[in-house]
Amino acid sequence: MEDNQNSLTFQEPIEWPYPIRYGEETRVNVDVLVLGGGLSGCFAAINAARKGLKVAVVDKSPIVHSGAAGSGVDHWMDCPSNPASKVDPEEFTLEPVRKYKGGYANVIANYITARDSWDALCELEQMGMKIRDTDDVFKGAPFRDEATKLLFAYDYETRTCIRIWGTGMKPSLHKECKRLGVQLYERIMVTSLLTEGGRPGGRVVGATGVHTRTGEFFVFRAKASVLCMATPERLWIFSSEWTGLVGRDGPPANAGNGHAMAWRAGAEFARMESSSHEEWGGSTGIGAVLFGTGSNFATWYPCTIVDAEGKEVPWVDREGNPIHTLEERTKPGPGQKFLTLVLGGGEGKAESMPHLIPDLPERIRKGEFKLPLYADLPGMPEYERRVIFGLMVGQEGHTWPVYRNLTEAGFDPDKDQLQVYEIGAAPPGWRRLRYGGLVVDWDLRSNLEGLYAGGQSIFDGIGVAHASSTGRWAGRSAAAYAQEAPEPIIDEKQVNREKTRIYAPIQRPDGINWKELQAGIAKVMQDYCGDTKTEELMALGLKTLEEIREGESRTLFARTPHELMRALEVLDILTCCEMIIHASRARKASNSWLHFERLDFPQDDPPEWRKWVTLRLEGEEVRVGELALDYHGDIKKNYETHKKE
C-alpha cells in the first residue's frame, strides 16, 4: 500500500512549512482597527472606510470565509424594515422581549437591528450577494413576495425573515473590503488590547497580535477600535476526538479571545452568568451533522415529521394550542400579531414559534409514536421541499457539503425521508454560554473610551442580521470618534509585558499541552458551575481555576505557531470561565429567563434581582455593578439621536 499522508502516518518528521519569526515585530498604524473579520467586523470596516479613514481588520482566519457565517447562512432574521413586512420595528423589538425574554434582552442592539437590517442586506446585495428569487424558481409560492421577489421564512404573512443565498455573504464582504482599501491582516490572533498609559480602564489605543503560522508579533495603533469577536465556545465540554473541537454552531476559532482581552483591559460585561443546554440537543461533536439530518426547525422549518410507521407528529402553536395544517405553521395564530423565532429565549418557558407537541417523548414512551422519526420531505408541497432541501440546505453554514454529499449518495427529497436524530431521543446536552458580552451604549461604545463593539462581542448578541447591523453601526460610531480623537500613544512597557506573556509557551520544552488544559478547565465548569449552582461549589470552582492558572497553566507548552495559537486560546478560555463564575456568584437569585439556577437562592426572578449584574476588572479586583433592564430608554428617540449616516 502506498503511503497516504492524509492518514497522518509520517515516516519522517516534516519541517514546519512557514518561516519562524517569534518575537519579530510589525507595526501598523490606522484610524480604525477592527478586531475580528466575521460579518460584524467586515460591516464595521466597510462603514468606517467609506468615511475615508484608514482601516485595518485582523482575523485568525482568512476573511473570505472566517467567522460563524463563514461557510454561509440561509435566512436573515429580524428584518421588519423590509418593504414587504407588515410589522412595525418598535413592536417587533419590544413584544418578544417582554413575552419570551422576560425583559432580559439587549434592546439597543435589537432595535438597531430591527431598523437597519434591511439596509445592511441591501448593501450585501449591492456587493453581489443574491437575496431575491430573480430566476422565479418559487413563483407563486406562499412565502414569495411577487413585487420584490423576496422569499420569506417562518411567518409567510407578516414577513420579517428573508431566505437568502448566504454562501456568497463572506466572499462579497471580503471583496468590498478590498475594493475600499481596507487592510486585511489574516491568520493573526489578536492577543490583547493596548490602553493609554498601559493602564486598564484607560482609552483603548490599539492591540497586539501574533501570526498563527510564523509566530511574528504585531502591534496595531489606532484612534478607535471595534471589537467584533465571538462568544467563547467549548467552555463546558471538550474532547479533541470529537469533531471541530466541539463547536457545532461556532467555529474552532471562537475561543473568547475578544471577551478575555476586553476583560483584562477593564471593559464592563453583562449576562456572563447565563448559560444553558444547547437547545438542539447536542452542540457536541457527537451530535449530528448540522442540518444534515431530518428536522423541523431553523433551516428545516416547517417540515413535517413522521414516525417509523408514517404517522404525522402533531404541531401546536406558540401558545400550545393544537394546529392541524401546514399553513397554520407559517402564520400568526388567533390573537397573535406576528411570528418570529426568538433566539436564546427562556428555556422551559414558552416557545416563540409553532412547534411539535411538547409531550412527544412521553407519548413515544406510551407507544403512540414509534421511533425513529423522519423528516417527511416527500409529503411536503414541492415549493416547501425545494426551498428546504435545495435552497436552505446548501446555503446555511456547513450545509453546502450536506447538499452535495447527500445527493451524491443518492438521497432524493422527492422520494426519501431523512432520519431525525435530535427530537425525542436527543444526545446529552452540555452547557453553552448564553450571549454574555460587553455592555454598550447607543453608540455601541463600551465603558472604555475608543472601544466599540459589534456582533457577539455585545451582550445578548446573536444572529447574522444582528451581527451585520451592529457591526455597521459600531463602525460608523468608531469612525465619528476617530475623526475627532487625539493621536493615540502606545505604552511600550505594556507591549513588552504582552510579548513576555504570549511567548512563554514556546520556551517550555514540555509540560501540559493545550488539549489537556482545555479538557481540565471544561471539567471544572461541569463540576462547579453546571446545571445547579451554590456559593460553596462556585467558590471551590474559582479556587480550582485559580490554582490551574497559577499552577498547570504555567507549564503550558507549544511546539509550533499553530499550537501557540491554541495554547493562547485556552488561556483566554480560562479567563472567560473565571468571568462566568464571578458573574454567577454575583447574581444571588435563580432566573429561568437566564437559564440560571442557584440551589441556595431558589426563588425564580425575584423583583429585587430584575436587573443586569455587571462585572469589570479594576486592578486585581472584580467590581460588581448593576444596570436597569430598561437602560436603553426611549428607543425611537435614542435611535434617531445616535444614528450616523
Binding site: N6, L8, P17, Y374, H398, P401, G410, D416
Partner: protein, 114 residues
C-alpha cells in the same frame, strides 16, 4: 510472504480523515490550505502533491475548502463525515433503508441546488 516494514507510531487521532483528496486529480495548488478557517492543512513538502491534513481534529466540516477548490467538481476532494455522523434515510414508497457511506449505494441524485 514478504513481511512489511513496520514503524512505531502513536495512535491516530479520531476522526482523522475529514477530507479525502484524490491525488490523481489534485494538483497541489494549495488554495484549500489558504482558505481553511481552522488552518488544518499544510502544503505538501513535495510540490504539486496534495496538501497534508495536519490537524484533522480541528476540522469543523464547514466545507469552505471544497467550495473554493477549482477541481472539486472533477473529484479532487470530498468531505468525509466521520462514521458516528452518517445519517440514514428511508424511501417513502418502498420502505427501503439507506445510509450515507453504505456499500452499494443508490445512484446519485443529479438535481442541482437552487
Amino acid at each position: 510472504m514478504t513481511q512489511p516494514k513496520v514503524y512505531a507510531q502513536p495512535n491516530l487521532i479520531t476522526p482523522n480523515r475529514p477530507v479525502i483528496i484524490d491525488p490523481e486529480v489534485c494538483t497541489g495548488c494549495n488554495l484549500c490550505v489558504e482558505i481553511c478557517p481552522s488552518d488544518v492543512y499544510i502544503p505538501n513538502p513535495q510540490k504539486g502533491k496534495p496538501p497534508i491534513i495536519l490537524y484533522p481534529e480541528e476540522c469543523w466540516y464547514c466545507g469552505c475548502c471544497l467550495m473554493e477548490c477549482p477541481l472539486h467538481d472533477k473529484g479532487a476532494n470530498k468531505l468525509n463525515w466521520p462514521l458516528m455522523q452518517r445519517m440514514r434515510w428511508k424511501r417513502k414508497e418502498t420502505g427501503e433503508h439507506f445510509r450515507f457511506g453504505m456499500p452499494n449505494p443508490p445512484p446519485p441524485n443529479k438535481r442541482p441546488m437552487v
